[in-house]
């Protein structure tokens, strides 16, 4: 999301907050650019609203968006990520990717270097990691399978067995390669 865009034209940077009546008849505050404010006929009088007010509203809009962006695996939202400054699991990076790229650039460079996007250039994991990952997934599925059978949850057990076969196939393929 771009910083503080006008909520009417979505093109220019918002410079003030105006009060509008929405379709349900409620008063709502929206941030607008100078051009749209002129069109609305609210120029000078409302401009006295201080900047803090605008940012408060922008933050609220962003907060809503951040809370909705959520990692399905660990349930961390982007809002929580910003609050704690920490990720919840390896999947967070895929879910948050778009938002992360500018965030990391700001965090991981000095001001004068901030032109290019920055990505990993260092060491990479080898095939060994992929294999050990498969191993540990298989191990986990076997435990789940045993549990499902013990609980006589046969439908679940069948599903797990399918996944287990898939993983074992993958592992074999990997070994042949």
């Amino acid at each position: 999301m771009e910083e503080n865009l006008c909520q009417i034209c979505h093109k220019n940077v918002a410079v003030m907050v105006i009060t509008e009546i929405d379709e349900k008849g409620n008063k709502v505050e929206i941030a607008v650019c100078e051009e749209c404010a002129k069109k609305k006929g609210v120029l000078e009088s409302d401009k006295t609203l201080n900047l803090n007010e605008i940012f408060k509203i922008m933050l609220k809009a962003r907060e809503k968006e951040d809370k909705e962006l959520k990692c399905a695996r660990c349930l961390l939202s982007f809002y929580e990520f910003k609050k704690y400054g920490k990720f919840g699991c390896p999947d967070c990076f895929k879910v948050f990717e778009e938002r992360l790229i500018p965030f990391i650039k700001r965090l991981q460079t000095t001001i004068r270097e901030r032109e290019d996007e920055i990505f990993h250039k260092g060491k990479k994991v080898t095939a060994g990691t992929k294999r050990s990952l498969l191993f540990s997934e298989i191990k986990k599925l076997k435990i789940e399978l045993k549990k499902a059978i013990e609980e006589e949850n046969y439908e679940q057990a069948a599903k797990i067995r399918d996944r287990l076969r898939e993983k074992e196939k993958e592992l074999k393929k990997d070994e042949i390669e």
Binding site: R73, C74, L75, L76, Y84, G85, K86, F87, G88, C89, P90, F93, K94, E97, L100, F103, I104, L107, Q108, T109, T110, I118, F119, H120, K121, G122, K123, K124, V125, T126, G128, T129, K130, S132, L133, F135, S136, E137, K140
Partner: protein, 352 residues
Amino acid sequence: MKLSKNLVPGFLREISEDSDVCISSRIRFARNLENHLFLLKASLKEQEEIIEEVKEVITQLNHFQFYSDDKLNEIFLNYLLERYLVSPDFVLSKNKKGVFIDSEEKISIMINEEDHLRLQVLGGGFSLDEVFVKINEVDDKLEKELPYAFSEKFGFLTACPTNLGTGMRVSVMLHLPGLILTNEMEKVIKTTQNIGFLIRGIYGEGTKTIGSYFQIANQFTIGMKEEEILANTKNLIREVINYERKARDYLLKNLKNEIEDRIWRAYGILTHAKLLTSEEAINLLSTLRLGICLKIIKKISLLTINILTILVKRANLMYYLKNENLTEEERDYKRAALIRKVLKGKGEEEDI
């Protein structure tokens, strides 16, 4: 009295040509496992599983001593912290945690600190190249057995975005009394921060530092190869080492009497005081260290200072004395006695 050098971790026993300024070198890698939630989200049960999985692999690889919750009481955790083998966050963490330490006390692998794994290798003096080779050896071995969380774009996936990419933090511990005494330190701190590096006092909090010991480390971890981060950090450290040496030369040339007075006063207190807090002891030993480097003090070695600087710390002192129940005053008394015993008679007669 002569102290056994086995009393301190291996990296503090190694004295090299840069040991006059650079006490030790350290590199750490942050790593996480793909098959587990990070610590923000992992349940205590999952944290235990992580420890078990890692333990299985590490015990096959190297001869490490493993300590987990049942052994990690408050004093032992602080003992390890004072020896730089675990981090302050590890000590404070409420996670199920464990740490592997090699017999030389140069390698430690913390489990469930901020990340699933924190590998660190330490070396004496300015030895980052050797440390880098060694940590990669350990990392490569572990990588073959553990499913590291990794992405092509973001590199090694870490709990905190400040460690993304390489997950690598390169740091050294420097002794910079010359820059402090010549009032150049503030300038060094500002410049270091402006070019994207971290610098902080080793002891004490905020701006109040004890003993003129500082740590310099890279701030950025992504967008560069490990070798680049290493080279950039090394260049900066080399500059700071040279700057400190220049400051010491200046002091010897222009303020010889004042500096000698300061050093002999430190020696006087250390060899006669009956009560010493750890803070005061570290401060005075720091001044003595400067005296050795300036060849004003001749019969005390840097190794002795390294050993004493560890032994005077609260938990290490109690471990050394094999008494974990000493009160603060008892500790101050025994600390002073230990220092007196070690340093006595090692001053140099001055020409009249």
